[in-house]
Amino acid sequence: MDTAAVEVVDLVKRYGATTAVTGLSFTARRGAVTALLGPNGAGKTSTIEVCEGFRVRDGGKVRVLGLDPVADATALKPRVGVMPQSGGVPTGARAAEWLRLLASFHSSPIEPRLLLERLGLTSVSTTPFRRLSGGQQQRLSLACAVVGRPELVFLDEPTAGLDPQARRATWDLVTSLRAAGVAVILSTHHMEEAERLADHVVVIDRGAVVAQGSPAALTEDRREVCFQAAVPVDTEALGAALPAGGRVSAAEAADGRREYVVTTDDPAGLGPEFLATVTAWCASAGLLAEDLRVRRRTLEDVFLELTGRELRD
């Protein structure tokens, strides 16, 4: 049990002339939640499908529970649960019927009735898959991924398109899986999801890892100074006054006033001198910085900073 749940080293995946994954590496621990975070088209699904054995890699090394996902597929299948992004169920099969079928493929499955109850699907257990709502289909798919009591589950965008209640139910389930010692690898483009659930976040963009670590570690060294001002601030002048790596951005605050955010690329992080520089510049400009505070950046801020890209849904 000392091997990692998933170990990916320099993974390359191409589709014709397009390279979807370009030398991606990460390690997912057992009994922990690992989130692959990135915009659509970043290479998350390709990475997951290579780990699931659905796709053959074009380069690099992939070990799942210490085994090769393609060569050792037969040994891995009973131990690994899979939730695809969509579909995977015959449209005419009824919800409980399909879950019972997948349960019957395993030696000691979870009682399907309990899972349906847990995910709020009891009332639709005899409904054909095609008549379930999108959220119900997602939750059934999630139930199917865990019904065989796997050691490891891959959840490809498990909460995409879910309403808040259903998302909550999914999050609770992931939390329970982790508590029970199941390794969870999930892909998401929701920052909040990664921040709440994951022990380890792998930020992916354009087929490569741009940062990884715990949500705390990813946001820890990334503090920023923000303040509001009643009059427009000369951001260029402020930027010029900052130490190397400092940057200023402006945004509209809720009440129509301008909010200014001052950050630094300095690997040492944002220290007291930096804050003093900002306030000194404000004083010299005759400016009262209102609501001034130093805050830890969110994963979303970090993501945007790392990729320079808006998250796309």
Partner: protein, 279 residues
């Protein structure tokens, strides 16, 4: 998203959604595959239920053959050859029913399963591809068993008197099994290579063409010579003429019909195994 300052960056899921102890027991890993026979039986049961519940497929596999049998037995609009009408019609209608399940129904069902990612999803379960094919075969044979029972009951009620001996019964059974293998291989070849919509259209078109050309409602001996020789190479013709020889004439079908079916099984089976795409 008012809480922009993420002061709680350390994920503490346990304090968030509390996991009760029985929850931990519920999800504690205990992986393992069920025995193959249990997986195959469960999958075959599901396939069978889905097939029987599917309205259009029921129309194709049950309603149309029964209507053809009853309609053309009781009316004289169609020249079915000599002898009692139901005796001439039943073997061909049985052949049509078998084709409707093992070719048309299987092709369309599998085509859409592929399209909706069902085959791919099943590929991630302990059920092997062999197990899935075995389950599909069992489900097809079960539906055909029901079809044969219903059609024979209807035919007998219409006064059918098959020339059935131990030899012709065994010969007929062998024909049905061989034809099922040929039709299923063709169905999987189609479903595994074409888009689901193309499979849907193609499989229905083939059904109609075979209904007209394959000696289902009347013997192909009424066709001009070259056409007759050409359609004799179709699996449906081999099945219908073989069944007619066995059940209407009471003699053993020639080796030719078995050879035709065997070649279809080998060619389509080989191509399907090479070309079938699971996603």
């Amino acid at each position: 998203m008012t809480e922009h300052t993420s002061s709680t960056s350390i994920p503490t899921p346990a304090s968030d959604g509390v996991s009760p102890p029985d929850d931990i027991a519920l999800f504690t890993p205990a992986p393992g595959a069920a025995p193959l026979w249990r997986m195959v039986a469960a999958q075959a049961g599901l396939e069978l239920r889905v097939m029987l519940r599917h309205g259009e497929q029921f129309l194709l596999t049950m309603v149309i053959p029964v209507l053809l049998l009853v309609g053309f037995s009781l009316t004289t609009v169609l020249d079915v050859g000599e002898g009692p009408r139901v005796d001439a019609l039943t073997p061909g209608v049985l052949a049509l029913a078998i084709m409707s399940t093992s070719f048309t129904g299987l092709a369309i069902g599998t085509g859409f399963e592929r399209r909706y990612g069902v085959l791919k999803r099943l590929g991630a379960t302990p059920l092997s591809r062999f197990g899935l094919l075995a389950a599909k075969t069992l489900a097809v044979l079960a539906v055909q068993g029901i079809q044969i029972a219903v059609l024979c009951a209807v035919a007998l009620a219409l006064g059918w008197s098959p020339a059935l001996g131990a030899g012709t019964a065994a010969a007929s059974l062998l024909l049905v099994l061989l034809a099922t293998a040929a039709f299923s291989s063709l169905a999987l070849l189609m479903a595994g290579t074409l888009r689901a919509e193309a499979t849907l259209a193609g499989a229905n078109l083939v059904y109609v063409l075979m209904l007209g050309l394959g000696g289902v409602l009347f013997p192909t001996s009424s066709f001009p010579g070259p056409v007759e020789s050409a359609v004799a190479l179709l699996p449906i013709t081999a099945l219908s003429s073989g069944l007619r020889t066995a059940l209407a004439d009471g003699s053993l079908p020639g080796l030719g019909v078995y050879a035709v079916l065997a070649v279809w099984v080998l060619v389509a089976g080989f191509l399907a195994s090479r070309l079938f795409r699971w996603d």
